[in-house]
Symmetry: C2
Subunit: 754 residues, 2 copies
């Protein structure tokens, strides 16, 4: 009865939605999206099917996996699982509830197949499995997937459901347990329970319910590799279980299955399966396209190459893949607050991904920030990264602080900023203990006692720098709430990076670098450490080296420029950074990267650096380096992203700069770079339009010659969010030579201004 | 098929077991067990049905609950749930999967009933529900329960299954979610998910499967109080759900249900239900009696009053209620190690409960210690307390260290002591961070930097004292493993308590007390703190005051006696402690207590103090005070335990002293007190006999006049575990006056001896 009504409501909703969408839809922007861009070459983008913030991300899992996302250019396809994240390096996460069509005798292991004709578009992934002469198409709703397998004519067309399968590489996930229960010749349910992965999470459980369109001719289960034909159920003894269904495809070659998942229980998975009322995969796909167009159509670009549009819309698509909306799927506490997950990781996404979401969908960003506040309420720390309902891990600072500050300065409503400030203060004042990679601020005892993180702790330089920026975020929020004592305290602490600045280190003619320091205040010996030493979790600099991190004082560039010797030296130092080759072997850098001079644009700590010329009123230099990066580091191939996409981070970097500006996250500052399209019209969530015209923009015409904002000359190379929040029109004129535009304006604000 | 074989095996096993038991069973020792002893009056003992270490502890839950265990003398019975702990104060835990028989219309709330004729014996709890004129009997196997409800003749005899019910008081558990699914007119399954409670745990899920003997005439479900007749399923939307079954009892008044639980999944719950193959509750009860007799019959007492036997065997019974054996029920990781839970808390149980288990069942203690080592491997800290698969909370030290040391010095095999030492060092070296009540050692930065925990941290005095004892445990294990550097380091740290000793504090003529100290080494002002100030988590002394805690240096009594001014002053100080009334109101002490002078024997920090006279060779004083406590503080009533039984702690205190000795846990030392039975024969696990004869023992004859050990005169008032591990015979002669026995022997060892 209730289900009937619910289905009716869903259908009415879909009909209305289609109607409204049809009205709005002048154009299908998803045709510019290629989910495969960046899947290879270290981008690890997710090529499967999903909705915006979709819980189900159904896609292929491969058996030669190096890092995340399931898909890999190498190896065979193992099957199609329902949970993935996009773009991350580090140990794999998810890959739960795997289905695989096979032909012949049942094998509960080693059933993978080589592939052909792999293809993806928004809401659809398809492939041919060579070993089984079987074609696969999959699509997804928010909590469910539809699978369509076209078998050869056979009486042994099987669908395996493997609850012991999950993604694993180094920093690995570990199997915990599983159950399976066949309900009938068309229905099966159960769960898979996994722990670990990059975030070192406690066990998480993914429940599922699957239904086939037609009855199987036979079925069975397995446990720890042993088959149990006709046996309907396997209980959990911490062993791998699975089920198989065999179909006769001599008449009808197509076997379809709906698979719904839940993090709550199997009944909830049954309920979630109602998201797919029919067996029409194409209708599911069409609904996905409609949902994605609602976002993509907010940005209309004109001019620019087809390739750049493809890169742009694919980037915007990836920005909205995560965080995942888990509303109604929180197995940890009862709350009316929003519940998002798969912040993976905020260290990556606070810089550009979340600011882009705020630009297009402040209400969505509000939910995402309020979610981490609620996570603080019940899990005791805001996450710096979080997957599978568990915080972890941290990389540099407590950059969740940046999300809160960024939302506040941009006027995002609906966030409990008071509780958020408490959560930020917890980061700043309560050492997380135990594994300091999990959450909070590792090395905090040092930082609060001696003003920097000493070499007694890993990632010491990175931590001091990021904690300083995070402290400025705290000061910002405290100011916004009128908490003047907290503001004063944290504004002061935000200068802590200066304690890590060694004026005596000299390299390539530049003096003064961020440098590891012992707890007795002595600097680390240059014979034991050098300015190009880069590292991972254990090293003083996380994922990079001193040259790169010494530019990271986003909240007080004025003071940094002073420390570096003033405007001229600073400019030269940036020039050197972007042109001088990194002197070591590339292997010395631990991370996949295509370098521009010493800049690893694949790496988040470098994200803001190209825009820093704006802090010395040299925007044409920012334009030049940004355009160089866009042109040489991004393309439409499967290797078209310069490094790990990191939940849309590389995409967001592209998308902002393609519009012509880039945020200094946590502050209401956008730094202007070089718009690539002739015209961009952004429909803001409040209905107002942000129009960015760039007359003559082109491959060569990368330099801004002049700018009008709302019809008036605009000569600053930066602007504030409030300048655009209620709509605005920028009219840029572009040319092929640097101009004096923006070189005499007001400088962007820095903490030291006041 | 497999199930058939399994059932057969179970039946054969039960038959064999019964046969063997019949051979062994000269006597039913369970007739001396009254599960109701200590249920009232602050004892919070669990009166329901369970096996030794049983996972299912089925019993009544009452609606005026103050603390743990479900049962309360006040209020009505809400129903009968399947998970409980025994004897703890603090916020309630468990109370999951509640069944309740009712008559008439279905109410999903407010269905509780007054009670009459409440009765319990080993393996059985029964009661009459006045409101419904219905009688209830329940019994349990390890993972399942059988309920027998005798209704009036009616066509509306209901059984409610309430998945929204759980125990709650302060430090409360919170509801997270639930699901229910009726499979047929005799079967239902689902789960209840709860978080919080005293250990501040993350969410835990208890799955269940229930089966009725006969079909219901109708059934339905509910969600958030709304009834859904005939609707079979409710999915999890973080709401309270339940199911009801209605029976016609006009012909057959008895409705029986088997209910199995699991922490893994519903399939596992189905599997666990096979533990009860028939509908014969009395057979289930008989099997419980058999299982308990296996343990109880290891100790045969002769002489002594019927009352003292009842207290004694009920005490031994409670010792073996917990920790709970969760082997095969670990939803967090895959491991072949044992998996015990419900260490609640080790702060209580390391002192006597675990040593008693080691005495009777070293193989069980081995599993219990190895479990906490495995918990360290996967959950990163050994627990100091742990329920619902989550560590928490700590009270004083990291007393899990004491369990390891105690096992090692007593030669307990099968423990990975090397990993255990790592886990102990983690306690000692890695601050737990965040909520320092969760695990590890709070205030560790102080302790390791300045040698004591300063008043910057709560429970500072308690912590310094217990960390010192814990450090000696580390030294002990390091020594056993030949790790001499670690041994030296921790032997030294074990003197840290001296940094908390203020020689200037004087009270009742005694000088020198443990005293709160600031981080700058200054002592807390006596105008702000006094020697009788007692407190809870926030205070310097946890659950007690300086007089009591100043006696707690179990590993170095020699040094403490010296600090206190030598043997004579020490004796006087003990005398004063046991005779001088606590000068404040009793309300000044936060915990339920019946005081002997200033001694709160209900409180764990006092457990060892009556035996401390042995450290100055005055065992007759120990005998006197111990016998006074046994006689005045314990009886066979429902208020027959002096304070929270704390997982058998009060029971273990009684049981040891009834035998005539008491352990100094973590060291291979038993201090002799005063045996109460004429003869005790303990069958050790290795088959050897430990015989304790006490000629003339009686209410007045409490003083040892002489002792022979294995036929030779024995004049020390203490002995080592190795003296009894392979069997031994003590022959005491008792008299009504103190004698010189034991006053000239060798003193028990102290750290300072070496």
């Amino acid at each position: 009865m209730r289900r009937g009504i619910l289905t009716l409501i869903v259908l009415i909703y879909l009909a209305l939605f289609s109607f409204i969408a049809a009205q709005e839809k002048e154009f299908d922007f998803t045709k510019y999206v290629d989910p495969f861009i960046g899947a290879d070459g270290g981008g690890y983008t997710f090529p499967g099917a999903t909705l915006p913030s979709g819980m189900v991300k159904v896609g292929p899992d491969c058996n030669k996996l190096t890092e995340n996302a399931g898909w890999d250019a190498r190896g065979n396809i193992v099957g199609f699982s329902h949970t993935h994240i996009n773009g991350s390096g580090g140990g794999c996460k998810y890959g739960n509830i795997l289905l695989m069509p096979t032909v012949g005798g049942i094998k509960s292991q080693d059933y993978s197949s080589p592939r052909a004709n792999e293809y993806a578009e928004v809401g659809l992934y398809s492939v041919d499995l060579i070993r089984y002469n079987t074609s696969v198409r999959i699509s997804a709703t928010h909590s469910a997937a539809i699978h369509e397998y076209t078998f050869p004519a056979t009486d042994s067309a099987n669908v395996l459901i493997d609850l012991g399968s999950f993604l694993s590489s180094y920093e690995k996930q570990e199997f915990v347990g599983s159950e399976v229960r066949i309900l009938s010749s068309t229905e099966v349910e159960g769960y898979s329970r996994i722990r670990g992965g990059w975030n070192m999470s406690r066990a998480y459980t993914v429940y599922f319910y699957a239904k086939f369109e037609y009855p199987a001719t036979s079925y069975g289960t397995w446990k720890s590799g042993k088959l149990f034909p006709n046996e309907k159920s396997q209980f959990d003894s911490n062993e791998k279980t699975g089920a198989y269904f065999t179909f006769n495809t001599k008449q009808n070659k197509t076997v379809r299955a709906k698979v719904a998942i839940s993090y709550m229980g199997v009944n909830k998975a049954h309920y979630n399966a109602e998201e797919i009322p029919s067996w029409n995969l194409d209708m599911v796909k069409t609904n996905a396209v409609t949902a994605w167009n609602k976002i993509l159509s907010q940005v209309k670009v004109e001019g620019g190459s087809e390739e750049s549009k493809k890169i742009f819309y694919s980037s915007v698509y990836r920005i909205f893949l995560q965080p995942t909306n888990y509303k109604g799927e929180n197995p940890l506490w009862q709350s009316n607050e929003p519940y998002y997950g798969d912040y993976h990781a905020i260290w990556d996404t606070y810089r550009a991904t979340h600011p882009f979401i705020t630009l297009l969908r402040p209400s969505l960003e509000s939910d995402m920030v309020e979610s981490i506040v609620d996570i603080y309420r019940y899990d005791h720390y805001m996450p710096d990264a979080r997957t599978s309902n568990d915080n972890g891990r941290t990389q540099g600072g407590s950059n969740c602080d940046m999300l809160v500050a960024d939302a506040m300065v941009k006027g995002v409503k609906g966030i409990d900023y008071k509780t958020a400030l408490k959560a930020m203060l917890k980061n700043a004042e309560v050492p997380p203990g135990d594994d300091e990679r999990k959450q909070g601020r590792g090395g905090l005892w040092d930082y609060n006692r001696i003003g920097y993180v000493s070499t007694d702790f890993e990632r010491c330089c990175t931590r001091t720098l990021e904690y300083s920026a995070n402290d400025y975020a705290i000061a910002t929020v405290a100011k916004g709430l009128g908490e003047s004592a907290i503001f004063e305290k944290y504004r002061k602490k935000a200068s802590s990076w200066e304690n890590q600045w060694n004026t005596n280190i000299e390299n390539l003619g530049f003096k003064g670098f961020i440098w590891p320091r012992k707890s007795d205040e002595a600097w680390m010996d240059t014979s034991k450490f050098n300015v190009f030493a880069s590292g991972s979790f254990e090293a003083p600099f996380y994922e990079t080296f001193s040259w790169e991190y010494s530019f990271y004082v986003p909240h007080d560039m004025k003071q940094l420029i002073k420390k570096m010797g003033g405007k001229e030296t600073f400019t030269k130092r940036l020039d050197t950074y972007f042109t001088k080759s990194f002197p070591g072997k590339r292997d010395d850098l631990l991370f996949y990267t295509r370098m521009i001079g010493m800049c690893q644009i694949s790496n988040e700590p470098s994200f803001l650096t190209p825009s820093l010329y704006c802090y010395v009123n040299e925007p044409y230099k920012t334009a030049k380096i940004v355009r160089q990066i866009l042109a040489t580091q991004y393309n439409t191939t499967r290797s078209g992203v310069p490094g790990n996409d990191d939940s849309g981070s590389m995409g967001a970097w592209y998308a902002f700069h393609a519009l012509g500006f880039y945020p200094n996250a946590g502050q209401d500052i956008y730094l202007i770079s070089s718009p690539i399209f002739h015209k961009v019209t952004i429909t803001l969530e409040n209905g107002k339009k942000l129009v960015i015209e760039a007359k003559n923009a082109g491959v060569k015409n990368i330099y801004i010659q002049s700018c009008m904002l709302n019809g008036k000359p605009f000569n600053n190379c930066w602007f504030r969010h409030k300048d655009i929040a209620d709509g605005a029109t920028f009219e840029f004129v572009m040319g092929d030579k640097p101009s004096s535009w923006g070189t005499n304006g007001e400088l962007p604000p820095s903490m030291s201004d006041n």
